[in-house]
Structure formats: C-alpha cells, structure tokens
Symmetry: C2
Subunit: 157 residues, 2 copies
DNA sequence: TAGAAGGTTGGAGTGCACTCCAGGCAAGTC
DNA sequence: GACTTGCCTGGAGTGCACTCCAACCTTCTA
C-alpha cells in the first residue's frame, strides 16, 4: 500500500478466478470498443481486467460478445479513480473480491480504502514538496537565461 | 511527461554513456553502502544510476571503489524529488545530460522542469478528486458496518 | 459469395525500473 | 593462512501493468 523510498512503483499481484455476484441487469448494453472509447482503457485492458477478476461478471450477447452495462461503467469509473491513487491492480482485485463476498466485508473494505486515503494524503504532501523544489530551480533558470552558472552546478541544477 | 488514461505508469528510457563534467572534489567521501543508507536507495540502484548516466562521474578510491561526495548526495536528493514527481528515469537522464552539457542548456532545463511542474499540479488535482471519492465510500462503509447493502453494490461499493 | 468490421481466446511479448547473481578483488581480524 | 566484510563487474532475471498475436467466429454490406 505504501511506497518504499526506492520502489517508487508497485507491489505484488496474482491472478484471481472470477466468481463474483450475479452481473448487473440494468441499463445500456455497450460493446467492448464503446467502453474502451468511454473509459480511455483499451479493449485489451478491459478483457485483461475481467480475466484477473477486477470486473464483476460481464454479460454476453448470444454470440458470446461482451455487453457492458451502465453498472459496469460505474465500476470502471471507480477502478479508474483507485488506479489514480496509485493503488496496485492486486489491491483493486482484493477489493473487488471483498465486494463480491458480500456485506460482511464492509469493515475490511473500509480499512482498505482508509489506508489508501492515507497514502493519497502522503502523496499529495510529497508532491507539494517537489513543487517547492521545482519552483526554486525554475526561478533560477529563468533569472539566469544566459548568465554563467555559479558553483554547485552539477549538484544543484 | 504526461500520462495517458491507461498507461498510468511510464515512458521510454535508453542507456546513455556517462561522460559529464568533472566530478566534484568537495566534502565527505562516502562508500556506496553509506549512501544507500542515507538515501534509501539500494547499492544496486546507485550503481545502475551511474551506469545509465543519471549521476555525474563518481570518484573512486585507489582500489576502484566508489567514493560519493556531498555534492553527489545533493544531486541524489534532487533525483529523489524528481522521481517523486513521477518523472521517468529517461527524462531524468535527459536532464542530467543537459546539466553536463553546460549553461547554454538553461532554457531547455527550465522547459523540462516547467512541464514537470504542470504534471505535478495535475496529479495533485487528480489525487484530490480521488480523495473525495474515497471519503464518500468510507463514510458509506462506516455508516453501514452491519446493515444490509442497498442496490448498486457490485458497481458502487 | 466475398470481403470488411468487430468480436473471441490463450499465450507470448513489451517497457520500465529495478534487483540479483556469479565470480572476483582488497583490506582487516583471528 | 583462513575467514569475513564490503566492494567490483557484466549480464541475466523479476514484477508490474499492460499490449500484441494468431487463429478463429459473426454479422453486415456490396
């Protein structure tokens, strides 16, 4: 959930069998390419999300093609938000499993999201810190467009 | 520099021959493990950073071991900040090359950092957006610790 | 009837940022 | 002299999150 000083990137996933609650029966029926366009995810990624258990069961047409519901879109929207927080796909799959498991998982879901929230706050703080550094650097370069550098160049610029 | 909806992760690097300005001659002489401890980076990563051109030349002891200077530590601090912004290693190498190339690269360095700054602002905004979503979810789970779920469960929780 | 468009699958491939490994060297301690 | 510690190198391996491929199926339009 949190990030080590070096590994600025990401934790450990694992493929998970899809076996959730009954899929939605509400709203429009979108093809995979329509959903790709709406969400900005590729069709590849949408299939992959389903395969690893990050989606609830997706309905199929009589020819076996995926037909996404409005509910699926809402879910994908949440997934997109969670991705933005830096949450790993593995953790999102874990969350999806909790949702499928039923209401008794509320406390754990809350815990997962609360931890994510803490992460986000930390990240915002970090980013604000980098902003300060960037501003100093940019001001330095702006004020010295053509003047010779001072001392610490290799280290400080 | 910016991130696509899907590729939340990262751009393209390339190995770059180290051939920068004369290395620092100031300050303490730290071994690689000392620097690893101070920066939180692994010794592996420090060697790798040097190899790809992300470090200025690092001095060596008479036996060929790296001896990092205070200036190197300052540089690593900046690199750490840039990593936090989400800047790719490839872009950081590019920046390091500009620093090595001399003062006439000030405008481009400024441009690079200004673009990074914009990215950071965008990311902070995104994170704030996710915070709002998380808060709604967490409040929902907190208020319904044991009560049955409502309708949209698979999609909204 | 042909061809194009859009979908299906499992499995392999990609790019990034590390991370580890084998084999070796130098200095210090018992 | 043996052992330990800490460092060196080039190159291979890892984990994540996609991304692509080949072979195939349906549906639709010309």
């Amino acid at each position: 959930m949190s990030q080590t000083p070096q590994g600025i990137c990401c934790p450990a996933p694992r493929p998970v069998p899809v076996e959730g609650p009954p899929a939605a029966g509400t709203g429009g029926r979108y093809t995979i390419s329509e959903v790709a366009e709406r969400t900005g995810l590729s069709a590849h990624t949408l299939r992959w999300y389903e395969r690893i258990g990050l989606m609830p069961h997706i309905n199929r047409s009589h020819t076996g093609q995926r037909r996404f519901s409005d509910r699926d879109l809402v879910w994908l929207d949440l997934v997109g938000k969670l991705r933005m927080t830096g949450m790993s796909v593995a953790d999102m799959v874990r969350y999806a499993e909790l949702v499928r498991a039923g209401d008794h998982t509320y406390p754990e879901r809350r815990r997962l999201l609360a931890a994510t929230r803490e992460d986000v706050l930390r990240r915002i703080d970090e980013l604000r810190g980098t902003l300060a550094v960037l501003d100093v650097k940019i001001a330095h370069y702006t004020g010295n467009e053509d003047t010779p550098a001072v001392s610490e160049e290799a280290a400080t610029s």
